[in-house]
């Protein structure tokens, strides 16, 4: 394991413990929803991270197409993979939260629907990558899907928002949140970002190692011929 991975592991471990203490011990119980509201400190950071991950995939997709250096696709792919995990968690934690509050696991609300569409696009990203055997083509097509998918997300969100919604509007910065709650949320977001970088280093290193091994194998086979 490389040094930066160990550092990222240390930082995220400490931050997660701090965030958990804040969420379960320091933070006051929300007045109307009660304890279930604490899932908020997981749900929102995970959502921010998913968007951030897909943004990284978008940026490094463009960089890959311009430079053709495989390592940029490894960054884009690693980020998409983490993003897909986070997007799955948005849907799952959202459902767990929705059941006691709205009475149903799922409703075709704007935020839920756009999260689902986003999840489907990045699921397709991985399914399609698995259908391509040539490495170079895999990187190229992956970059294209990563670019188009990210551009599509705001349009999906905008089009769905024309329908009425039950999901609360973002109220974090308009004074809607108690001081401790805001601090807890920010700490949870920071902790989740640390986790993002930990996963990023782990997966990126794995991809580069895989790539190096494949190259060495090819070279050895050529030498033996």
């Amino acid at each position: 394991m490389r040094r930066r991975t160990l550092i990222a592991f240390g930082i995220s471990a400490v931050m997660i413990i701090v965030a958990l203490v804040m969420v379960f011990i320091v933070c006051p119980t929300e007045a109307t929803m009660g304890n279930i509201q604490r899932i908020f400190y997981f749900h929102v950071p995970v959502a921010w991270n998913a968007f951030f991950s897909f943004f990284v995939t978008f940026v490094f997709g463009i960089v890959y197409l311009k430079t053709r250096n495989p390592k940029y696709d490894f960054i884009a792919e690693s980020s998409a993979k983490i993003g897909l995990v986070f997007a799955t968690l948005i849907l799952l934690t959202g459902m767990i939260w929705a059941k006691p509050i709205w009475g149903v696991w799922w409703t075709w609300d704007a935020r839920l629907t756009s999260s689902l569409v986003m999840w489907l696009i990045y699921l397709a990203y991985f399914i399609i990558r698995s259908y391509i055997s040539e490495e170079e083509k895999k990187y190229r097509f992956g970059s294209i899907i990563g670019i188009v998918g990210f551009i599509d997300i705001p349009i999906v969100a905008l089009s769905i928002q024309l329908a009425p919604t039950t999901h609360p509007k973002a109220m974090i910065f308009n004074d809607g949140l108690h001081g401790t709650m805001l601090l807890t949320l920010l700490l949870s977001i920071a902790a989740m970002f640390a986790v993002y970088f930990l996963f990023m280093f782990l997966y990126y290193d794995l991809r580069t190692d895989e790539y190096e091994i494949a190259r060495m194998k090819k070279r050895l086979l050529k030498e033996n011929d």
Binding site: I128, Y131, F141, V148, L162
Partner: protein, 223 residues
Amino acid sequence: MNYWKAVFAIAKKDVISELRNREIISSVLLFAVLTLIIFHFAFTADQKTILSLAPGMLWVAFAFSGVLSINRAFISEKEDNCMEGLLASPVSRDAIFLGKAIGSIVFMLIIEIVVFPVFTLLYNVSVINPIVILVTLLATIGFVSIGILFSALAVNTRAREMVLPILFLPTVVPLIIAAVSATSVILDGGKFSDITQYMLIIVAFDIIFVTVPFILFRYIVEE
């Protein structure tokens, strides 16, 4: 060769070859009509319910037959190495994209021209309305444009026609939402001013998803 001349030459080539072998249109048209017929068995409903379901039924028919038709756009080019010939010709990659997109828009319009009256005839609910037609026309542009990009991508993968729907359908969700909502409002007796926000989404989608595939297409067909 002049840029637009090349674009229209490619579109014309697709239309002519389609007129000769009727590979896409005949089966896709039949499929679109079959979709409308299946709806009858799926929900037997009264006139009022049909009217409220009509926009959705139309767009399900368009989306699924669109997938079939757009899928064929590059499969025919793969046969007999036609794609290599096209790429070797002295036209830019984005002219090829525009030509293929215009060709597929023509096929899509033919499907729509048939589906509208058949729907009206089968369900006794008139969906033929100038504003509904305008909405459909505008939505078709972005729909086909992004579809052509993904079709070129799909044909270069192992799974070929499996790839297009899983990528294309989630991406065109905004277009389907806007087109279905706008059509519902108009069929409910609304005016053009009631659907401006949906029209804006459709136009924005068209502009973005003609420009983005126009730029990205050359990265798909580069070998």
